[in-house]
């Protein structure tokens, strides 16, 4: 038996009690991990949204609180295209509707000849015609979720559409939505002559950043430009909120987990008062007693971390089976996330073990040996 073996034996004595504490900590770790995986995915997919296709940067109205509320007059498109260095400008109107059991379905209105420019790749069927108000393209994910095929008729809101093709952009948000003619979406949303975003391609030999500056100066602060949604202030604000939530959950997990471990270990130390007295009497130094108690609490936390990783990953995989979620949330695995969750578990073990270890060193062998 080694010192480590003794620690494991001590933990095994109260399997149920320690198991429940371990489960509690692992739920905390799983939550932190799952939140992080989804947040990473969310950030990444939004970051990709505007980078798609041949676009160099996008334009939105400066006063809009979010991309969805950005409103640019369609007439400005031509003005943008005439600016020095601009090769092409494509407007798109974003709308959110309830469709195919999804209350937050993204439909995007664009000109038919801009589909390729925006990176929309038809994988089945064909693109909608320029003058076909009833034709629609469904994203690969949304078609899969709704079990819709090329040739089917679908109803969006009160309007009926004919599915003419299935597309893929590689972006989770877009692939979970639909593309239709700009005019159709404008009419349907009562936003005639309006677009949400303008995607801009810069001419060869021009620097995107310089062209973006010229554009902003030309429209005297009416517009902002971004290379991805990740650059917009609103996005940063939402990410900030999500990060705050994620940290709050982490701190809660440390607090609750730490107190749980502390409770279990303090109980264990009190129950083993006599034993600790014996160990001190046979020559164990305080330092070794501390190592034993801390070793037990850290072991609980580290096993909980491993269990939490498994539970967290399975939980995310389970969540992705839900049709509404599928396609929108793509977990993005990063080493840092696991390191952070592991670090949090370690902190739980350290914090939870401190007080009981301190109590254990206060046990004097003479009093302990009188303890029955």
């Amino acid at each position: 038996m080694s010192f480590w073996g003794l620690i494991l034996k001590n933990l095994w004595r109260h399997k149920i009690r320690n198991g429940l504490t371990l489960l509690g900590v692992s739920i905390g770790v799983a939550t932190i991990l799952a939140l992080g995986l989804l947040m990473n995915g969310f950030e990444q997919s939004l970051g990709e949204t505007l980078r798609a296709g041949k676009t160099d940067f996008s334009v939105m109205s400066a006063d809009a609180p979010a991309i969805l509320f950005s409103a640019i007059e369609e007439s400005k498109l031509e003005e943008i295209e005439h600016l020095a260095g601009v090769d092409h400008a494509a407007g798109s109107l974003l709308a959110i509707t309830s469709f195919l059991n999804n209350p937050y379905f993204f439909s995007i209105g664009v000109e038919a000849n801009d589909l390729d420019f925006l990176g929309v790749k038809i994988v089945e069927g064909r693109a909608f015609g320029p003058q076909a108000p009833d034709e629609i393209l469904l994203g690969k994910t949304s078609a899969g979720n709704g079990n819709v095929h090329v040739g089917d008729k679908v109803t969006m809101g009160t309007k009926e559409f004919q599915v003419v093709g299935i597309y893929e952009t590689g972006n989770a948000w877009e692939d979970g939505g639909a593309f239709a003619n700009l005019a159709t979406i404008q009419q349907w949303q009562h936003k005639e002559g309006q677009v949400s975003l303008v995607a801009v391609k810069v001419k060869d030999g021009f620097v995107a950043d310089a062209v973006a500056s010229t554009l902003k100066a030309h429209f005297a602060g009416q517009f902002v430009t971004m290379h991805s949604i990740a650059e917009s202030e609103n996005f940063l604000h939402s990410v900030g909120i999500m990060q705050a939530i994620s940290w709050a959950v982490s701190i809660l997990a440390i607090g609750i987990g730490g107190i749980g471990v502390m409770n279990t270990m303090t109980m264990a130390v009190f129950e083993r008062t006599r034993e600790i007295g014996i160990l001190r009497a046979v020559g164990w130094r305080r330092r070794r007693i501390i190592s034993m108690v801390m070793g037990e609490s850290i072991t609980i936390a580290l096993i909980a971390a491993v269990l939490g990783f498994i539970v967290g990953i399975l939980a995310v995989k389970g969540l992705l089976l839900v049709p509404v979620v599928k396609g929108y949330l793509t977990p993005v695995y990063s080493i840092m996330l696991f390191v952070r969750a592991f670090g949090i578990a370690l902190a739980v073990g350290l914090l939870g073990g401190l007080y009981p270890a301190y109590r254990a060193t206060r046990i004097t062998p003479t009093t302990a040996l009188r303890h029955e």
């Binding site: 038996m1 003794l6 001590n10 006599r274 009497a281 046979v282 020559g283 130094r285 305080r286």
Partner: protein, 228 residues
């Protein structure tokens, strides 16, 4: 040619006093004691006489309020934590619930060696030899609850020997055993005292047990009343 350190007794106590409960109880009142290496000493006295307090001081588990105690050349009153001293010099045997209940007899004997820098293989061999010595070869893998009272106390004896101590301190080692088991344990301790030249100090209130020792010190009300 005489080495002065050799002439010095292994345990030397001068004028030890100890008070408990804010000076109300006098556990020890000026105890003077010298014990040579290899002696088998029984400390006798009624409960509350101060005999366990004296034993705890020799083990550096307790400190005197005044006076001096030196063991094997070390001033015990100056030790910050007596653990290292106990790990190297002393083996301890208690009356009751002496063993870690979840560890086997073999593992219980290994416990003191975890504190010493002994190689895994060497400590395992040692634990085996010790269990053999105390007559428990077949019981190495038994947990304390599976052993009889006498067997448990023999495991405790083996554990007390694990660190090759100069002194074995036994606090009422037969207190919870029947006569026959008690005799066996005392006989074992006696044998170890002779064969290993280990100094044996045994606290008891049992006259017969004390009778086996070479020297019997009687304590009453915190003072030595007889020493023969």
């Amino acid at each position: 040619m005489s080495d002065p350190r050799k002439a010095e007794p292994l345990i030397q106590a001068r004028n030890l006093t100890k008070h408990y409960e804010k000076g109300q109880t006098h556990a020890l009142r000026g105890v003077n004691l010298a014990i040579k290496a290899g002696e088998f000493v029984a400390i006798r006295g009624p409960s509350g006489s101060g005999k366990s307090t004296l034993l705890n001081m020799i083990a550096a588990l307790d400190r005197p309020d005044s006076g001096e105690i030196r063991v094997a050349g070390q001033d015990l009153t100056k030790l910050r934590d007596g653990a290292s001293y106990r790990a190297h010099v002393v083996g301890f045997i208690f009356q009751l619930h002496n063993l870690i209940p979840t560890l086997t007899a073999f593992e219980n004997v290994l416990v003191p060696m975890l504190e010493l820098k002994i190689k895994r293989k060497a400590s395992r061999e040692k634990a085996e030899t010790l269990l053999h010595q105390v007559g428990l070869n077949g019981k190495a893998d038994n947990l304390p609850p599976e052993l009889s009272g006498g067997e448990r106390q023999r495991v405790a004896v083996a554990r007390a020997l694990a660190n090759d101590p100069q002194i074995i301190l036994a606090d009422e080692p037969t207190g919870s055993l029947d006569t026959s088991n008690g005799e066996q344990v005392i006989e074992l301790l006696r044998k170890i005292n002779r064969e290993h030249n280990v100094t044996l100090i045994l606290v008891t209130h049992d006259k017969e047990v004390a009778g086996i020792a070479d020297r019997v010190i009687q304590i009453r009300d915190g003072q030595i009343v007889s020493d023969k």
